[in-house]
C-alpha cells in the first residue's frame, strides 16, 4: 500500500515531523526524571535538568583566616585563595561580595567597600585581598558565585538505597509480586481449558460471569475481604495480599487464556482424545505448551499490575514501615518527608520503575498480543 495513489511527499513530511514531536512530548517527563536522578541535589534546585550538561552558577560562602592577617603600613591585610580552602568544585569566580545581604554585588577584579572602611578584592582565579584599618579578630566571610561543572553521580541512588530503606521496599515489592504472578496462572489455565474445550451445562453462564467480573471495581472487595482475612486469622500479611491479588487477577487470566485456547486447532485435541488421552493429559501435554504465548501475556500483565499496585498493598499489607512496598514507600513516606528533595525522589521513582521497564521492553511482543486478545474480538 506504500505506492498507491493519494500519498503525497509533503504529507509524509508532515506525518514524520508530527510523530517525532509526539514522541518527544511523550518522553520528556521521563527523561527529566532520569537525568535528575543522577544530578547533585544542590544543582537540581538552581538549574533546570535540560541545562544539566552546562556549568551551573552556584553561590558559596568562604571564610578568610584571621590568623593569616599581617600588618602593612597600619592596615591589616589577609591574602589567600578562595578555592584553596576547598569544599567545592568551582574554578572561576563570576561575582563576589563581602556582606551577606549583597553576596554577589561585585565583579571579579573590583574592590568592594565594606563597613568600617574594610575592603575586599577577589580576582577571577580566586585570589583575594581583605583589608581592614583595625585589627581583624574574627574570620571575615567572603561570599561568591562561581561556575561549577555539571555534577553527575550515583549519590542519590546510594542514599536512597542505604539510608532511606528503599532496598527493603524493593525486596517487599518482589516478595508480593512473584507468588501473586505465578499462582493465578495455573488455576486460571485449568478453568480456561474447561470453559474452552469441555461441554457441560452452564458453560455460557460461567463465561458471562467471568466477563462481568472483569469490570467489578476492586474497591468493593477491600472492606469485606480485609474483614474476612481478619476473621480467618490471615490479617494484614503477605499471605493475604497474595490471595487477594490471585483473586483479583483471575477474571482477566481466565478470559485471556480461554480466548486463546478456543483458537487452538480442534483436530489436534480431538485426535488426542480419540487416541485415548484423558482431558487431564490433553491439557498438560497439548494445550498448556501450545498456550505459552497467552500464559506469557497474562504473566506480564499480572506482574506489571502487582508490581505497580498501591491500593491493594495499602489495604492488605500491614501499614508499618517494615512491610512497605515501593509504591507505598514513595507515596506515603518519601513524598512527605523528602518532598523537596528532588534528586532523592527521582532516584526512588526510577528504582521502582526500572524493573517494569525492562520487562516491558524485552517482552513487549507478548504484552501487545495479550492486549489484543483481551480487547479485540
Amino acid at each position: 500500500m506504500d505506492n498507491i495513489a493519494g500519498t503525497r511527499p509533503a504529507l509524509t513530511w508532515v506525518v514524520n515531523i508530527s510523530v517525532i514531536l509526539l514522541v518527544i512530548i511523550w518522553l520528556i517527563p521521563t527523561v527529566g526524571l532520569l537525568v535528575s536522578s543522577f544530578r547533585d541535589r544542590d544543582q537540581i534546585a538552581i538549574s533546570a535538568w535540560w541545562k544539566s550538561p552546562f556549568p551551573v552558577a552556584q553561590n558559596f560562602a568562604a571564610k578568610a583566616d584571621a590568623g593569616n592577617a599581617v600588618e602593612r603600613d597600619g592596615i591589616f591585610v589577609i591574602e589567600g585563595n578562595i578555592f584553596a580552602e576547598g569544599g567545592n568544585d568551582a574554578r572561576s569566580i563570576a561575582a563576589f561580595g563581602g556582606r551577606r545581604t549583597d553576596p554577589t554585588g561585585s565583579a571579579p577584579g573590583e574592590t568592594a567597600e565594606l563597613t568600617r572602611d574594610r575592603t575586599l578584592t577577589v580576582q577571577e582565579n580566586g585570589n583575594y585581598i581583605y583589608t581592614s584599618p583595625a585589627e581583624i579578630k574574627r574570620d571575615p566571610s567572603i561570599y561568591f558565585a562561581a561556575e561549577t561543572p555539571p555534577d553527575f553521580s550515583l549519590d542519590n541512588y546510594r542514599e536512597i538505597l542505604t539510608s532511606a530503606n528503599m532496598d527493603r521496599a524493593f525486596i517487599n515489592t518482589l516478595t508480593v509480586t512473584i507468588p501473586a504472578t505465578i499462582i493465578p496462572i495455573l488455576i486460571a489455565a485449568f478453568a480456561a481449558y474447561a470453559l474452552a474445550w469441555m461441554e457441560f451445562p452452564g458453560r455460557w453462564l460461567l463465561i458471562a460471569l467471568i466477563v462481568g467480573l472483569l469490570v467489578v471495581p476492586l474497591q468493593l472487595a477491600l472492606v469485606p475481604m480485609l474483614q474476612f482475612h481478619n476473621m480467618v486469622g490471615i490479617g494484614q500479611s503477605y499471605l493475604g495480599i497474595w490471595l487477594a491479588h490471585t483473586g483479583f487477577g483471575l477474571p482477566l487470566a481466565i478470559y485471556l487464556l480461554r480466548n486463546y485456547m478456543v483458537g487452538l486447532p480442534k483436530d489436534i485435541i480431538e485426535s488426542a482424545k480419540v487416541d485415548g488421552a484423558t482431558d487431564f493429559q490433553v491439557f498438560t501435554k497439548i494445550v498448556l505448551p501450545l498456550s505459552f504465548p497467552a500464559l506469557a501475556s497474562f504473566a506480564i500483565f499480572q506482574f506489571l499490575w502487582t508490581w505497580n499496585d498501591l491500593l491493594v498493598a495499602k489495604v492488605f499489607l500491614p501499614s508499618n514501615s517494615e512491610s512497605w512496598v515501593m509504591t507505598v514507600k514513595i507515596a506515603d513516606d518519601l513524598l512527605g518527608s523528602r518532598g523537596g528533595d528532588w534528586g532523592i525522589l527521582a532516584a526512588a521513582a526510577f528504582i521502582s520503575i526500572a524493573v517494569p521497564l525492562i520487562v516491558f521492553f524485552t517482552m513487549q511482543r507478548y504484552l501487545v498480543r495479550g492486549l489484543l486478545a483481551g480487547s479485540v474480538k
Partner: protein
C-alpha cells in the same frame, strides 16, 4: 524467615498444591468414584465426563466467588451498617454521603474524568496509530509512546511532578512561564483546572494502550475499501474519517469503555499528587479517606462506583454472548 524466602516457598506450595489437586482429583474420579468397570463402563465414563469440568473449575470459581462475587453483596450489606458495624442503619450512609459537599465534588470531578480521559486517550491513540501506520520507524515510535503503560501510577505521578513543579528550575510549565516573564504558579492548586493537569497523567499512560489496539484494528481494515475511496477521489482526511473510522467503530467503543472502567479504579494519581486537596478528589480517592476509619461510608462509596460501572458490565456481557453465538 525473610519474607522473600517465604514467598518462594509459597510459590512452590501453591503451584505444587494446584498440580497435586488437579492430578489427584482426576485420578480419584477415574479410579475410585467412577472406575470404568466392565458392565457399566460407558455409563461411568459419561458420569466422569460430567463431573470433570467442575474439578477443573473449582479452585478458580472458589477464588472468584470469595474475592469478587461475595464482596459485591458483602460491601452492600456493610454499607447499610454504622461505622462500628454494630447497628443496621438502612441507607443512612448513602443519604449523609450524598449531602456531603466532599462527595459532590468527588462525584463531579469523577464525571469530568470519565468524560475527558477516555476521550483524550482514545483520540490521541487513534492519531498515533494512524500516523505511525505507514512509517518506517513506526514501531519504535509506538513502543516509546506505549512505554508509560509499564510505569506505576505513583511513578508516573512523580515523573509529572517534575513537569508541574512550582520552581521554574524544576517544572517545565513554570520554566516556560518564566521564559515569557510570567510569575510561577502551582498548577496543582489552580481550582478547577488542576483536575485537568491530573487527567493529563492518566491520558499519558493510557494513550499507548489505545494506540496498540486501534493500530491492530486499522491494520485489519480491508485494503480494497481504502483503495476504492482513493480512486473515487477521497482525500486522506476523508479516507480516515469516512472509511477507516466507521469500520473500527466497534474497537473504538471497546477501548473507550475499558479506559472508562479504569478511570473509576485509579486513586493513586490524585493520592500522590494532591492528596485530594484543592478540590481534586475523585470517588476512589474519596473512598480511601474513609477506609480504616468508617467502613460503612467506605463501602457506600465503593457501591456507588459499582453502580456507575454496571451499565458497562451489562453491555460487555451482552457483547460476549453475541460473539459466542
Amino acid at each position: 524467615m525473610s519474607p522473600l524466602v517465604q514467598g518462594l516457598i509459597t510459590v512452590i506450595v501453591g503451584v505444587g498444591g494446584c498440580v497435586g489437586y488437579f492430578f489427584l482429583s482426576n485420578l480419584i474420579l477415574d479410579k475410585v468414584i467412577f472406575p470404568p468397570k466392565p458392565g457399566d463402563k460407558g455409563r461411568n465414563i459419561n458420569r466422569a465426563t460430567m463431573v470433570r469440568p467442575w474439578l477443573f473449575l473449582f479452585p478458580a470459581l472458589f477464588a472468584l466467588t470469595l474475592y469478587l462475587v461475595y464482596p459485591v453483596i458483602g460491601s452492600f450489606w456493610r454499607s447499610l451498617h454504622n461505622r462500628a458495624n454494630t447497628e443496621f442503619i438502612g441507607f443512612d450512609n448513602y443519604t449523609t454521603m450524598f449531602a456531603d459537599s466532599g462527595f459532590q465534588t468527588a462525584f463531579i470531578n469523577n464525571f469530568m474524568w470519565i468524560l475527558v480521559v477516555p476521550a483524550g486517550a482514545t483520540f490521541l491513540g487513534l492519531l498515533v496509530a494512524q500516523l505511525t501506520d505507514r512509517l518506517s520507524w513506526g514501531n519504535i515510535a509506538k513502543s516509546l509512546i506505549f512505554m508509560p503503560m509499564a510505569i506505576s501510577f505513583v511513578g508516573a505521578s512523580l515523573i509529572w511532578r517534575f513537569v508541574y513543579a512550582n520552581n521554574p528550575d524544576i517544572g517545565i510549565i513554570n520554566a516556560v512561564r518564566d521564559f515569557f516573564g510570567l510569575m510561577p504558579v502551582d498548577v496543582l492548586q489552580l481550582p478547577f483546572w488542576n483536575n485537568f493537569f491530573l487527567m493529563v497523567i492518566l491520558i499519558w499512560i493510557q494513550t499507548g494502550f489505545a494506540m496498540v489496539i486501534l493500530s491492530a484494528a486499522l491494520r485489519g481494515i480491508p485494503e480494497e475499501t481504502v483503495e476504492a475511496a482513493i480512486i473515487d477521489g477521497a482525500n486522506p482526511l476523508q479516507v480516515f474519517f469516512k472509511i477507516k473510522v466507521p469500520q473500527i467503530m466497534g474497537t473504538i467503543v471497546v477501548v473507550w469503555t475499558t479506559i472508562t472502567i479504569l478511570v473509576l479504579k485509579v486513586f493513586d494519581i490524585v493520592y500522590a499528587m494532591t492528596g485530594g486537596n484543592f478540590e481534586t478528589e475523585i470517588l476512589p480517592s474519596y473512598m480511601m479517606n474513609f477506609m480504616f476509619r468508617d467502613d460503612g461510608r467506605a463501602t457506600a462509596v465503593a457501591f456507588v462506583i459499582m453502580i456507575i460501572v454496571l451499565p458497562v458490565m451489562i453491555w460487555n456481557i451482552r457483547q460476549a454472548r453475541k460473539e459466542m453465538r
